[in-house]
């Protein structure tokens, strides 16, 4: 009975969508990279960089959307490093990705510490406010669950649609899907394999950074060390779960958000019987289970992880 009460509460779905938002950005970013054939394990560091850069831009007075832009640029910068190492140079995508994560994380922390050497409690900014859309936000249930989220959540939802449209309805998306399956097919038709892959990784990384920026500029109002806490890795798992489709990515992220919101509520109900860590582990365990469930039928982009050199057939 109580479980049903939890699931039917608008506040529950409001939390679920809020938790899902950074994951939507992250999974969209990861799937764009992977559709073009590049695994981007820089995601965890790019989240951190986006969170730090967006927050710091606002803290320095750039305005909230200015912060979003700065976060996207920071993500694109680290994406470019990963792209150069893995696309024209064809280096190990695994190792380069880990390297980018280490670089982006340490650079973000170093910058934060250098800018704010002596603060004990992190300074706060004025984050995105919940939307108050006339009529829509006043609707019962959905008004609270969906239309009272912040503008960044709306941006994430719009981007699901945009990514889907670009991938499946435009010549660019056709080329990206082709380059992730057989780069030679793209080169033979006179398109640039390197251009498409580098572009996809840079754009995908920018989206990942928005996921980080959401945390410091919408979900919270400050930057903390270790605040990403594996969210990037969860996105990599969810990308496989979503079989590289934007629509399924949205569903996967929402399911994940719902589960996370649910376990938080469950914790308040039965928390006395189980250590809190059991609940905190849930998202990671859930990600692993999600991977296991789809592993057998996962249809990886065929050229994923395979380097390609010019003139090679």
């Amino acid at each position: 009975m109580e479980i049903i009460d939890i699931l039917l509460a608008a506040s529950f779905w409001e939390a679920a969508i809020r938790i899902a938002t950074p994951l939507i950005f992250g999974v969209l970013g990861a799937l764009i990279c992977e559709r073009a054939g590049v695994l981007n394990l820089g995601i965890e560091g790019i989240f951190t960089a986006g969170a730090m850069a967006g927050w710091m831009a606002v803290w320095l007075g750039a305005g909230l959307w200015g912060g979003v832009l700065v976060a996207a640029l920071a993500g694109g910068f680290f994406g470019l490093i990963h792209a150069i190492l893995t696309v024209p140079l064809g280096l190990s995508q695994h190792v380069s990705g880990i390297g980018v994560t280490l670089l982006a994380t340490s650079l973000s922390y170093f910058t934060y510490r250098t800018a704010l050497p002596d603060v004990s409690s992190p300074p706060r900014i004025e984050p995105f406010r919940p939307l108050d859309i006339p009529f829509l936000s006043d609707l019962p249930f959905i008004g609270q669950a969906l239309f009272s989220q912040t503008a960044m959540t709306m941006l994430a939802l719009v981007l699901v649609f945009v990514t889907g449209w670009v991938l499946y309805r435009t010549p660019l998306g056709l080329a990206i899907r082709a380059v992730g399956d057989n780069p030679s097919s793209v080169e033979a038709q006179g398109l640039s394999v390197y251009g498409l892959r580098i572009g996809a990784v840079v754009v995908g990384s920018s989206l990942m950074a928005l996921g980080g920026a959401f945390l410091t500029m919408s979900a919270f109002d400050a930057f903390f060390f270790g605040m990403i806490n594996g969210r990037g890795w969860v996105c990599i798992a969810l990308t496989v779960f979503a079989s590289w489709r934007p629509g399924k990515a949205l569903i996967g992220a929402l399911l994940f958000g719902a589960f996370d919101a649910f376990q938080v509520r469950l914790q308040t109900e039965v928390g006395a019987f189980l250590p809190s860590q059991v609940f905190l582990m849930m998202p990671y365990i859930l990600s692993i289970i999600a991977l296991i469930v789809v592993a057998r039928k996962a249809d990886y982009p065929k050229a994923l992880l395979v380097p390609w050199f010019k003139g090679q057939r």
Binding site: V95, L102, R113, P275, M281, I288
Partner: protein, 356 residues
């Protein structure tokens, strides 16, 4: 137009020179963030060097740092050799440490020559099991081990936290989440009087040499090399890829677990959730700088440890964030990756012209 042509056989200068060059470049690049932070650059480098090598104490500290890095570096090197992407050394390290604490904090007792091997075996077994799981998922079901081992790091850390607040909690710790101390008979003896460096260093060095011999000279090493370089050909020739992968997982996870044992039984004396400042991840950098050579791991672990200890001491002296060390290490990884490319390919710059 730039073209890359494969080199058939890179000479020894490239093979050994490139990692050294990459490390040097990473150190030099650190001048940029130092300058942006407004630090006196020359003085900062001086402080880093003296922080790592300036006295017996600082060198002992550096070697203490290098000990777990050699072990996690070996863990990454052997796994990457077989193309088993174990990014979970951090979690395996904690599991190893926890197993060592579980058997080594008074549950059983005996002479040192019994207890030290007991904690080592317990820790290595725990670390190995932590990696064998994801490896089986990979070989049986095709679940990508990168993500599972990464996520397990978070799960293990929470599990350790849970145990430290529960079953393994030290009743004398005044509420701090930490384990009971390792008993004296299970503790690693120090190598020098009043210094922290302990026999874990010797164990790590012996492990590196043993692993080098194992990979080069034994049938199993042969099979690991074959599987890592071309799994399809290895399978075709009759080598069991699954068995080889599990062996590699046991070795890699075991070495990472040993790093955890060495930290609790040698350096710390008890288990807490801040046991490792990311030794598992740094091990990846150590392995890559060593180009996956077990002997090379010793050198690159000493380098990474010097950076950490030197930067710590410099940051205390002139107030630059010690995250500089992580930054240098990350840059070293990316530099050595690019360097590895230059050892495999020759770069040509052709002038683009319509030849007559």
């Amino acid at each position: 137009m730039i073209r890359f042509e494969p080199r058939s056989n890179p000479g020894p200068f490239l093979v050994y020179g490139v990692p050294i060059l990459a490390a040097t470049i990473a150190i030099l690049l650190a001048a940029i963030p130092l300058a942006l932070a407004g630090a006196p650059i020359i003085q900062a480098y001086g402080l880093m060097i003296s922080g790592a090598f300036g006295s017996v104490f600082s060198t002992s500290e550096m070697l203490t740092r290098a000990t777990p890095l050699i072990l996690t570096g070996l863990a990454a090197a052997i796994a990457f050799r077989a193309k088993l992407w174990n990014i979970g050394a951090e979690g395996q390290l904690y599991m190893g440490a926890m197993a060592a604490v579980a058997v080594g904090s008074g549950v059983i007792d005996g002479p040192s020559w019994v207890m030290i091997p007991v904690v080592i075996i317990a820790g290595m077994a725990a670390g190995a099991l932590m990696l064998i799981g994801p490896t089986l998922l990979k070989t049986r079901l095709g679940v990508d081990e990168v993500v599972t081992t990464l996520l397990l790091n978070f799960i293990v850390l929470l599990f350790v936290q849970m145990m430290l607040e529960g079953a393994l909690k030290d009743p004398m710790s005044m509420g701090w989440p930490q384990s009971e101390p390792i008993i004296d008979s299970a503790a690693f003896p120090a190598l020098l009087d009043r210094m922290r460096v302990h026999i874990g260093l010797l164990i790590a060095l012996v492990s590196a040499v043993a692993l080098a011999i194992f990979v080069k000279r034994t049938v199993w090493g042969f099979e690991i090399r074959a599987v890592g370089e071309n799994a399809a050909a290895a399978r075709f020739s009759g080598i069991s890829v699954t068995k080889t992968m599990i062996l590699v997982a046991a070795l890699s996870g075991g070495l990472a677990g040993l790093a955890g044992v060495s930290e609790v039984a040698g350096t710390r004396g008890y288990l807490a959730t801040d046991l490792s400042p990311g030794y598992g991840y740094a091990g990846i950098v150590v392995a890559m700088l060593a180009r996956l050579s077990p002997i090379g791991v010793i050198a690159s672990a000493l380098f990474v440890a010097s950076v950490f200890v030197g930067a710590d001491s410099m940051s205390r002296a002139i107030g630059v964030s010690s995250y500089l060390a992580d930054l240098i290490v990350a840059m070293a990884l990316l530099c050595v990756l690019i360097g590895g490319f230059l050892t495999r390919f020759r770069v040509h710059f052709d002038r683009k012209s319509a030849q007559g």
